[in-house]
Symmetry: C2
Subunit: 215 residues, 2 copies
DNA sequence: AAAGTTATGGCAGCTACTGACAAATGACAA
DNA sequence: TTGTCATTTGTCAGTAGCTGCCATAACTTT
């Protein structure tokens, strides 16, 4: 795959939109890293790409949105993969397999997306409002995943919270894994991916014992 | 306890500050519920209490902050309780005991705080930006709790992520519990508290099996 | 009662964000 | 090619969140 961000074949109009979209993202990430997230204004971003401010807000909901826009593709991939896992499979197995799909996508991204991934990880480190945006993304993905697992298991997600509990615990482990990467300034996809896998594996051996330990 | 929000004995100045602070909170919550969170402006809140907008921002960082300000006290209580648990205790036991402390505080709050609690729960339901603020609060509490558990266990929190994993999973269960309350419009502390305890107990029996199920 | 400390108010200003309308630009068919 | 249609873009005007600055008012202390 050449990354999920390019619009293979399409009309001139669509290609042009994608170009300005990613031009805005790249300009924003560069400015954020150069002079700080809060200190960067929308006006500076749109000036670098030479579009109007109004156009910016037609593409993105705000600064936080453009900063994290790279990751929405991987989230979508994760959810799509989860929806196609065989129904008989245990929840955690399905979640780990779907996570592997999105991690593979991160590792096999093209150069442009890899560069954006690195920049984003450097940005999140030391920018609380972007980190807060991350939390929102994880929560949305969690919601979608819980719905899928509940349907798979054939239970009503309103009366039975167990699918949601499993997904929440799983996603929180993934989140902690990414957070340790940010903290240790591990920005390379080739290093991030195995670390996330490793922490999920560690959680799988650690957490069951931690919960049941009631002396 | 008469709630953690009143300033027992103190100078006139301090008492006055607490009064305007909670007057602002109550005015804000009422306005948010009456005409919607986004539709309520800071100007309307300060007009109801008759202070200047500038003063508002000396008390609160913004709308999100004032909406969730009631809960910061309970968070502080949770962290303080966790810090005083005996060091030999297993992490999850310490976390559950500390959670009980903050849940007891919620149930034994005075009438004013109970009313605020109810309003806040009604507000979060259907107000995404306030719900997002909740996520940030939980993340901050998680950070603090992880640090305490790491010190207790005598491990370096940088090299050993296990304390953080346990706390993250635990806090995510608590968060899901609150979310189900909001979804089911359970606003009464007397109903919220047992439900949170129940979901934590359910997680304790469900999650270990879910993680280890690797056929 | 005076001096010192701290909270408040008023203002000026910046930035994020939105609605409405007009101009430009790509899409498509005759 | 040209004319028509749909969509995108720019401009403008306005609202609201938020901050720094300085003078004034209010409590505190001696």
């Amino acid at each position: 795959m050449a990354g999920m961000t390019d619009a293979q074949v399409a009309g001139l109009r669509e290609r042009k939109k994608q170009r300005t979209r990613w031009a805005l993202v790249d300009a924003a990430l560069d400015l954020f890293l150069a002079k700080g997230y809060e200190a960067t204004t929308i006006d500076e971003i749109v000036a670098a790409v030479d579009v109007s401010q109004r156009t910016f807000f037609r593409y993105f909901a705000g600064k936080e949105d453009i900063a994290l826009s790279l990751l929405t593709g991987y989230d979508t991939l994760f959810i799509a993969a989860l929806a196609e896992r065989p129904p008989g499979e245990p929840p955690v197995v399905a979640l780990r397999a779907s996570l592997d799909v999105s991690l593979d996508a991160i590792r096999e991204s093209d150069d442009a997306d890899t560069a954006r991934f690195r920049k984003l990880h450097r940005l999140i480190d030391g920018t609380p409002s972007v980190a807060a945006g991350q939390l929102r993304r994880f929560a949305e993905t969690e919601q979608a995943a819980a719905r899928i697992l509940a349907r798979r298991a054939g239970v009503d997600e309103v009366t039975d919270p167990r699918p949601h509990l499993v997904v929440a615990a799983f996603m929180s482990v993934v989140r902690v894994a990414y957070e340790t990467c940010v903290r240790d300034e591990i920005t390379e996809p080739a290093e991030v991916v195995p670390r996330v896998r490793g922490l999920v594996a560690l959680a799988a051996e650690t957490l069951p014992g931690a919960w049941s330990a009631v002396p």
